[in-house]
């Protein structure tokens, strides 16, 4: 038989293009700053996750350079064998202190934390309760387990508890939720989730990727809902508000011991370069000691949200710096994004089937480094194109 070894590559790619599902990736020329150059055009950045603009903070940059000089460019190994540097250990102690938990473990990425640890916590005979709008990396972590999974309607505590009430036949139960939902900018009620989980002896897992540096004066969703140390697994990332890269898991000493012995992603990929670990530590220091970044982020957020709303945009239920500007049908969101880019505003359209057909939107992410004048420029473009497209 003559087998076509690679024909599917082209065929499947072309199918994505036909359906308009392919990525046409823009090129960032220079740093991810509030004003940056994308595909040769100077634009205001409204779709990065660099909420506090820490990727450009001199302390982080200096710490990276210093660590590269003192420890080299790479770690030389995986953590369990020979790549466990003093910098990694120091960083984990700082994370635990910052999160007010007993211990923490630093992963290569947030994805590695979700995909590596979720499948170790539950298995055959267990149940996972997962919010319908959870992030794709959670979905993939869940897929790797033999546990049965029940998806509950978005932040619907009544449905979540109903499932727990009927779940006697299961051995362990793990409730997993995003802290801040990345498409809508709303939050999971962690205080209620923890209270209900405790009642039924269930574990809780929050992916706080969009909450750290932002909520709870920067400490994240646990601090925001006053349940620090009460969530079984506080998972997060250094790639968003902290401005670097890497995943984290914070919780009990038992959790850390378990996680570092069982997470295959952690055990089997090389550890983070010294420069990265050092920059992460600097980021934690900055968030703790320079509250002005967080304050500016919220000032900008509140200003921008209020203005969009006054213009007549539906901004959904967002309570965070992720603000969706609803456009209705997909074509309108796409057209608005094109118009904004022409006017020097880089903001991403989110369309069906990522969101419901009539809920397509431009998702904006605020940045502490944007000035009031920057915000006004972006708002003017939103107003101009919103009217042109009859969204307003």
């Amino acid at each position: 038989m003559q087998r076509d070894a690679t024909g599917f590559l082209k065929a499947e790619y072309e199918d994505l293009v036909k359906k308009n599902f392919d990525w046409r990736i823009r090129v960032l020329q220079g740093p991810s700053s509030p004003r940056c150059k994308v595909d040769g055009k100077d634009v205001l950045m409204l779709c990065s996750n660099n909420y506090l603009n820490l990727s450009n903070h001199p302390k982080l940059i200096e710490a990276s350079i210093k660590a590269a000089r003192s420890h080299g460019a790479g770690s030389g190994s995986v953590r369990p064998i020979a790549g466990n540097m003093d910098l990694h250990i120091e960083l984990e102690k700082k994370i635990a202190k910052f999160k007010r938990t007993e211990a923490a473990l630093y992963y290569q990425t947030g994805f590695a934390a979700n995909a590596g640890l979720i499948p170790q916590l539950v298995g055959e005979g267990d149940l996972i309760l997962t919010d319908e709008l959870n992030h794709g990396s959670i979905i993939d972590g869940v897929r790797l387990t033999k546990a049965e999974r029940a998806i509950y309607p978005h932040v619907n505590m009544e449905k979540m508890e109903e499932a727990l009430k009927n779940a006697d036949k299961y051995r362990r139960i793990l409730i997993i939720t995003d802290g801040v939902f990345s498409m809508d900018g709303d939050t999971a009620p962690m205080d209620q989730i923890v209270r209900i989980a405790d009642k039924y002896g269930a574990m809780t897992w929050v992916d706080d990727a969009h909450g750290e540096g932002v909520l709870g004066e920067g400490r994240g969703i646990g601090a925001h809902f006053h349940v620090e140390g009460k969530i079984t697994v506080e998972m997060g990332t250094f790639s968003k508000a902290f401005g670097v890269v890497g995943g984290l898991v914070a919780g009990s000493n038992d959790l850390r011991n378990f996680a570092l012995n069982k997470s295959r992603t952690w055990l089997l990929s090389g550890s983070a370069p010294p420069a990265t670990a050092a920059a992460c530590m600097a980021a934690l220091d900055v968030v703790e000691n320079e509250p002005e970044h967080n304050k500016r982020l919220w000032d900008n957020t509140n200003y921008f949200k209020k203005a969009l709303k006054q213009m007549g945009y539906d901004i959904g239920n967002s309570t965070t710096p992720i603000t969706p500007a609803m456009c209705g049908e997909s074509a309108k969101a796409q057209a608005l994004s094109v118009g904004l880019f022409e006017d020097g505003v880089f903001a991403f359209p989110i369309v069906f089937p990522m969101v419901a057909r009539d809920k397509s939107r431009i998702r904006t992410m605020m940045n502490a480094g944007l000035t009031r004048a920057d915000c006004d420029q972006a708002l003017a473009a939103f107003e101009k194109h919103g009217r042109k497209l009859k969204i307003l």
Partner: protein
């Protein structure tokens, strides 16, 4: 260019308002009781919504109608504003049309290249069409009957017009859904018997799964059923000492195929030790098997549009059979798309006490590979029994 066949059953739904539970064979009686036609109006409403969308989007609508004469489709198309050049009358019924004309018009359409058959009527019309076209062409119903248990109906005429638009855009796949109908002759004698006649194809939105951050993969209904079957193989494999009773429907048929047995589509089958021990079993056979195998598990899937897991299309699963199996040994499976159309699962076992025990009980319904969704059961029986309409 897509070709859509349109068949309106002009008398569908007339029996309802004058107290008849259908119009099959009793059109004269319905008219005598003062019934007026309702289907032409509903078909026109749907066709008008579609024509208005065509006016807005223009070129996106590459559509050609094939229809039957008079009130069986031609009149409704004209009333909705479609021009004569846009449709072709391929069958002329006599002045008083009958189910035979529905079948005849369907047959003509089958001979032409038809991509979708759109009809206006109820379960009876759905059955007439299904029995002519089988699964070769998807069918979609504008709801206008007295009974609409089958899964081929859109919720209302406007929603049907939206489904047709998406179908024309090529955005829909198709899924197998049940064709159910009440045996009307038995019903008018006071006996309630909903029969499962088969499974038809209907346009269907694929199940979207998030594959990456902003990336979506779609999964067809058949793929979802394969996932359910895969998980059920694991679950059943852990209960090899039990008798497995598999109810009707295509989800269960997929499980049967994966088990390597010849499962009937419309019947109840039993498996023990990996072997098919009863095919299309009746109540007596099942009770006999349960005598020999006290440990049993019953696998079900909702039948029809209203989400009945017991009491519609699977009456072999009598109250005695269900009690012998035990309520805790029932596993319900359903595709997410089917569940999304029915907020609750229903039972109507014919045994008031059993219905009461099931009413409000929640099940983790298997909806995919290792995926479950909690659903509550609602017992439907009591109300109708009070009206004395049951045997």
């Amino acid at each position: 260019m897509k070709t859509v066949g349109l068949i309106v059953n002009p008398v569908a739904g007339m029996g309802g308002r004058v107290g008849l539970k259908g119009t099959d064979g009793v059109v004269d009686e319905a008219i005598k009781r003062g019934a007026v036609p309702v289907a032409p109006e509903k078909a026109t409403l749907m066709l008008r919504a579609l024509r208005e969308a065509r006016d807005v989007y223009g070129a996106r609508f590459l559509l050609r109608w094939k229809t039957a004469g008079g009130l069986m489709g031609e009149r409704e198309l004209v009333d909705a504003g479609w021009s004569l050049g846009e449709f072709e009358v391929v069958y002329r019924p006599p002045e008083r049309s009958s189910p035979a004309d529905t079948r005849a018009a369907c047959e003509v359409m089958m001979g032409l290249k038809t991509d979708l058959i759109l009809f206006c009527g109820g379960d009876g019309t759905a059955r007439d069409i299904f029995e002519t076209v089988g699964v070769s062409v998807p069918i979609l119903g504008i709801p206008s009957g007295v009974k609409m248990h089958s899964g081929v109906f859109g919720l209302n005429p406007v929603i049907v017009s939206e489904i047709v638009q998406e179908f024309l855009d090529g955005r829909l796949g198709n899924a197998l859904v049940e064709i159910l109908d009440l045996d009307e002759e038995l019903y008018r004698k006071g006996e309630w018997r909903v029969r499962l006649f088969g499974q038809a194809r209907t346009p269907h939105e694929p199940n979207y799964i998030q594959a990456g951050k902003l990336m979506i993969e779609s999964e067809s209904d058949d793929e979802v059923k394969e996932g359910i079957a895969e998980h059920m193989l694991d679950k059943l494999g852990a209960m090899r000492d039990a008798l497995w009773i598999l109810g009707p429907g295509s989800t269960l048929e997929t499980i049967g195929r994966r088990l390597g047995i010849e499962k009937t589509l419309l019947g109840v089958d039993a498996v023990f030790g990996g072997e098919l021990v009863a095919k299309d079993a009746d109540e007596r056979t099942l009770l006999g098997l349960l005598e020999r195998h006290p440990r049993a598990v019953l696998v079900l899937s909702p039948i029809g549009a209203q989400g009945f897991v017991l009491g519609r299309g699977n009456l072999q699963l009598s109250p005695a059979v269900i009690r012998k199996v035990g309520l805790d040994n029932i596993i319900i499976t359903a595709t997410p798309s089917k569940l999304s159309r029915t907020p609750v699962l229903r039972v109507d076992t014919g045994d008031e006490e059993l219905d009461r025990e099931l009413d409000g009980k929640s099940f983790f319904v298997v909806t995919g590979f290792r995926q479950v969704t909690l659903r509550a059961i609602v017992a439907e029986g009591a109300g109708r029994r009070a009206q004395g309409a049951r045997d």
